[in-house]
């Protein structure tokens, strides 16, 4: 078939009639319409707002065995930082331990009785910091924060020490080696906004899962109602039926994608540093693979309820092995290679690469290729399954 022939075929009267029928069916199905608009927007907003790894205002319980101006200075340095706030003073370490296990405090600080004396004698002294490490992530971040606070406190102490004593020699500097001052700079997201990572990941998840759901619902309806035989009896060819089924869904889901991208921009102010066209192309591939997954599911199920149950088997691995909500490096080693087979993973990499990092096609082409191949395989699989069902 030549290209013009194909085009004439696509815009033939029969084709238009079939597409119109699909549109009418979608228009009359209130639930399908709602599920096209409401869940994506709602979920995107919920995920973006609710999932934040921010560590701030940890309740710090204090046992101050020293009770000197020096120890109080240390305590206030810690509690004045954004990360900790004072939960209360306790008389003994046991009481503090109880408070942490009851959940009244998230962290504890124990200042030894000889703290000020050691400082005055310029001897290194150690304070104890207890952290509730149930949540490993929070504990790691808060440990780093506490260390940062202590480090700047130490620098101040050193400078004060030199000022106060006015040491007559310059020599000590030569005896001591220079310190390394690590200066982290955060590229692409200097404000460390958590939601940018989450919403860019959830976008792909939504596109795939929603396309799957909508497609399987609309495909299986024909089967449930038994109207698929009537379609077969009509002069339309199987290609025409398939294209007419997919085209309206694809169009509506693309609109949903644009709405979701608008939410990203307007609600979460995610920066658009790269090419929007690349993003939309990748999104369209995502929708296509989602529709294909839905079609395949529909051909295996006899009712809408069965189709939905089947998608329950598919969604957890698709969602959890995608790196949409957490970095892939945090997964067990044996699971990491599986993410290559996940379109959500590729899409998330493309979204983050273009929107946040401002990369072009040159940076994300491996993921684009992966997504493209995946879509190709899925579309041909679904067309084959659908053909088989029709013939």
């Amino acid at each position: 078939m030549t290209l013009t022939g194909l085009f004439r075929h696509l815009f033939s009267y029969r084709m238009r009639a079939l597409v119109k029928k699909e549109f009418n069916q979608i228009r009359r199905d209130r639930r399908l319409q709602i599920s096209l608009v409401l869940p994506p927007i709602l979920q995107l907003t919920l995920f973006g707002f609710a999932l934040s790894s921010n560590v701030s205002d940890l309740r710090l319980a204090v046992v101050d065995d020293n009770r000197t101006p020096e120890s109080r200075e240390l305590i206030s340095t810690l509690t004045e930082s954004k990360s900790f706030r004072l939960a209360g003073y306790y008389a003994s370490v046991d009481q503090l331990g109880d408070a942490v296990s009851r959940g009244d405090a998230d962290a504890g600080l124990v200042v030894p009785y000889d703290y000020a004396r050691d400082l005055a004698r310029q001897r290194p002294t150690t304070v104890q910091l207890l952290l509730n490490a149930t949540n490993a992530n929070t504990a790691t971040i808060s440990r780093a924060y506490a260390q940062g606070v202590l480090q700047s406190y130490n620098v101040n102490l050193r400078q004060n020490g030199i000022h106060l004593q006015v040491q007559p020699t310059v020599a000590p500097n030569l005896a001591r080696r220079g310190q390394i001052q690590l200066q982290p700079a955060f590229l692409f997201n200097p404000g460390l906004v958590d939601s940018w990572f989450i919403v860019t990941g959830v976008l792909g998840l939504l596109l795939i899962l929603n396309s799957t759901m909508v497609a399987s619902a609309s495909m299986v309806r024909e089967r449930e109602a038994g109207t698929i035989e009537q379609l077969l009896m009509s002069p339309a060819s199987t290609t025409e039926i398939i294209v007419a089924k997919i085209a309206p869904l694809f169009f509506l889901l693309s609109l949903m994608m644009l709405a979701a991208i608008a939410v990203l921009r307007l609600v979460f102010s995610v920066p658009f540093r790269g090419s929007l066209l690349l993003l939309i192309c990748a999104g369209c591939l995502c929708i296509l693979s989602g529709i294909s997954i839905g079609t395949v599911i529909a051909t295996f199920s006899r009712s809408a309820q069965q189709a939905q149950l089947t998608s329950f088997f598919l969604n957890p691995p698709l969602a959890s092995l995608s790196g949409a909500l957490n970095p892939i490096e945090a997964m067990p080693k044996w699971l990491q290679p599986l993410t290559v087979l996940n379109p959500v993973h590729h899409f998330a990499a493309i979204v983050r690469g273009t929107m946040l990092k401002g990369g072009g096609f040159a940076d994300v082409w491996p993921n684009f290729l992966g997504l493209f191949l995946f879509t190709l395989v899925l579309v041909s699989l679904s067309v084959r399954r659908f053909r088989k069902q029709l013939s």
């Binding site: 959940g103 202590l150 130490n154 329950f312 699971l335 990092k357």
Partner: protein, 365 residues
């Protein structure tokens, strides 16, 4: 009582007959537990990092070696003539460490030398972990080569000293699976009665609304308890958890929680007499609410205040806290008694709502 048991038996038989539902009941919770707990983890290992050494002295080499030895980082090669930021854009590396010229000379002469760490912050949480770990490495290095700092902190990590995220997410996903699958089955079973009109037979029979509902709920409590037993077998082996303290609160709470989720599913089934719609609502309530608003992944305090109040009504939140307390913190009854009561209250509300929906339909005898 006899009627309640008969109703439960009928319900359980129906579950066993359909392979999809049976798989949903038994296999999926396990798959979810294993997959999700791995997939939610945020602790990163072996992050690719690029080192650009403009000094090339033995001091700078020594410093880089410390990074090579860390388990968080994995130093990769990068051509000197290509800008290091390009590696971040193409995902080849997560961070770049830049050591300036004169690094070794500065150090030897006692001058503090700045070292820059450029972190890919498109994932803000990992960026915080990366910079925190790098700071810690630099600190340790400073302690080694220079005089120790006047005030040092000795960190004690309680309850989870290995900082294993598996131990944190395992109990959370355990609760998530329990909040999702039993109510899904219960909702489907209840909606099916209405869809296939078998509910009419119930209305005209002599069974009361309480007996009918309790029978159904009891059956799904059995299913949920079975799931809980199977999943906790994994928690105690694969996840390496043990009871940290008094296990009685979690036993009581588990029974109450299975009642709560079974009533939730049944209530949805009563209110929405359509299987597909009921399934969607249960998935929304069971999965989304518990996943997002219960502190499963991140602390509840991080949720903006406009959404946070909802989490006070999310039944899964209390159960997650109870399970984590039992398996990690060991606070026992003093820490969790009111949470157990909340689960009971929320469960009873679901039950009453379901009963209210049923009662209206039933013919008075």
């Amino acid at each position: 009582m006899r009627r309640i048991l008969a109703q439960s038996r009928k319900e359980l038989t129906q579950i066993v007959r359909d392979w999809r539902t049976l798989a949903l009941a038994l296999a999926l919770p396990l798959v979810m537990l294993l997959l999700m707990s791995a997939a939610l983890s945020l602790t990163v290992y072996d992050l690719p990092i690029i080192v650009q050494d403009f000094d090339g002295s033995s001091a700078s080499n020594h410093f880089i070696d410390v990074f090579r030895a860390s388990i968080t980082f994995h130093v990769i090669a990068w051509p000197v003539d290509k800008p290091a930021e390009a590696a971040l854009a193409s995902n080849a590396a997560r961070a770049v460490l830049i050591i300036p010229p004169h690094f070794g000379r500065d150090q030897a002469s006692g001058v503090n030398s700045p070292v820059q760490l450029i972190v890919d912050a498109s994932d803000a949480n990992t960026a915080k972990l990366v910079s925190g770990d790098a700071l810690q490495i630099a600190n340790a290095y400073n302690q080694q080569i220079a005089a120790p700092a006047p005030v040092q902190a000795a960190f004690r990590l309680w309850f989870n000293p290995g900082l294993s995220s598996k131990k944190f997410y395992g109990p959370g996903v355990f609760v998530l699976a329990l909040s999702m699958f039993p109510p899904l089955l219960a909702g489907l079973a209840m909606a099916r009665e209405s869809e296939q009109k078998t509910i009419l037979q119930v209305y005209v029979s002599s069974i009361s609304a309480h007996e009918f509902l309790l029978g159904k709920i009891f059956a799904f409590m059995v299913v949920a308890l079975g799931e809980a037993v199977v999943m906790s077998a994994f928690l105690f082996t694969y996840f390496g958890l043990t009871f940290a303290g008094d296990p009685t609160p979690v036993f009581v709470a588990t029974i109450l929680y299975t009642f709560c989720v079974a009533s939730f599913g049944t209530m949805i089934g009563v209110k929405i007499p359509n299987q597909t719609a009921a399934m969607q609502v249960v998935a929304l309530g069971g999965f989304l609410l518990v996943f997002l608003l219960s502190g499963l992944m991140f602390p509840v305090q991080n949720i903006p205040i406009g959404l946070r109040w909802i989490s006070n009504f999310v039944w899964g939140r209390y159960f997650i806290e109870i399970v984590r307390d039992a398996l990690l913190q060991g606070g026992g009854w003093p820490a969790v008694w009111y949470k157990v009561i909340f689960i009971g209250i929320i469960g009873s509300i679901f039950y009453l709502l379901a009963w209210n929906g049923m009662r209206k339909m039933q013919v008075k005898s």
